[in-house]
Symmetry: C2
Subunit: 216 residues, 2 copies
Amino acid sequence: MEKEISQAVIRRMPRYYRYLGELLDDGVERISSNELSTRMRVTASQIRQDLNNFGGFGQQGYGYNVKYLYTEIGKILGLDTKHPMIILGAGNLGQALANYVDFEKRGFKLVGIFDVNPVLEGIAVRGIEIQMLSELPLFMKENLVEIAVLTLPKNKAREMADILIQNGVKAIWNFAHVDLDTPDDVIVENVHLSESLMTLSYNLSKYRQEHIIDES
Amino acid sequence: MEKEISQAVIRRMPRYYRYLGELLDDGVERISSNELSTRMRVTASQIRQDLNNFGGFGQQGYGYNVKYLYTEIGKILGLDTKHPMIILGAGNLGQALANYVDFEKRGFKLVGIFDVNPVLEGIAVRGIEIQMLSELPLFMKENLVEIAVLTLPKNKAREMADILIQNGVKAIWNFAHVDLDTPDDVIVENVHLSESLMTLSYNLSKYRQEHIIDES
């Protein structure tokens, strides 16, 4: 099933989900692929192609039923099931992610927060007390944890990833500035913030160079 | 110049930069494309192709001079110049980014932090006092600002993006859960965290489905 769907298509699905959610909030019941195309600034044919990967959902002459399409894309993205999640690293970034209420709405349920800093022990973030990283293996034996969010410094991140994997974590959302060594059955999604900033910086430098060249 | 380089290649450059930085830290002076390939888990031919976009840098039989390549990629990424940067939104995420020391090392110099919350006014983050967003237009007239980091809620983000653009910002690093309307000469780099988490969730669901299918 679905094996041939490219990661590029997958990465576009959350954006469809976001736009459809906004349409729902605005009370829109149905939308043509042309209207959706204008809003999202992608071609109508790309929309049709993308959605055809999952079986279509549109009806000729009717367009898309917004609520239905939103629900179906949610299912495709696995948002119709609960995902128990822990955060390792209770610094600013860890706390920012812990406080992001939209995650909970999408099924990502925060069940634990861990740090090495004893000063943070017992402090509650969204009602969950920060525990010490040393308690992680026991916690994972006693609780179902599906996703671990890593916001630790890179040396600590590698060590903790090993412990997480040994204890059966299924997916790691990695913010540490390092590529993790993981077996094939553990899903890793990297967010390398400094690489994103460098891409911005490259595009800025390039624009400037071209602009100078144009003027000469 | 460089016009034909794809964004996919660009997005790989910061990763080369990271690995070369680690090699430098480890005291490695030169490396063959094969060794670099093993470390980075990409093919040696991809490395050669990627770097050839910028003119090569390797020498047959010698490999790459680590320090030289690191410096040159740094220049390509625009890290050899100072980029004055402001952060809009002094919540956990804004503060996490403000405290990220590596950015400063790469030339991204934080010059201002802004928020709407009067409780935060005057509180210093890395020595920079949080100002009110109402002061932003004046600040931008009196200070050189190249990059603005948006960590605001989405309605506020759109409004502030307009003010930033009117006041000459060159690039926006956008963490708000919204696509911004910007003219062509303003670079936008989006970090949509919830879309990243949904991609993880999709890959997790897909893996699970395939696993169940395999067992049946």
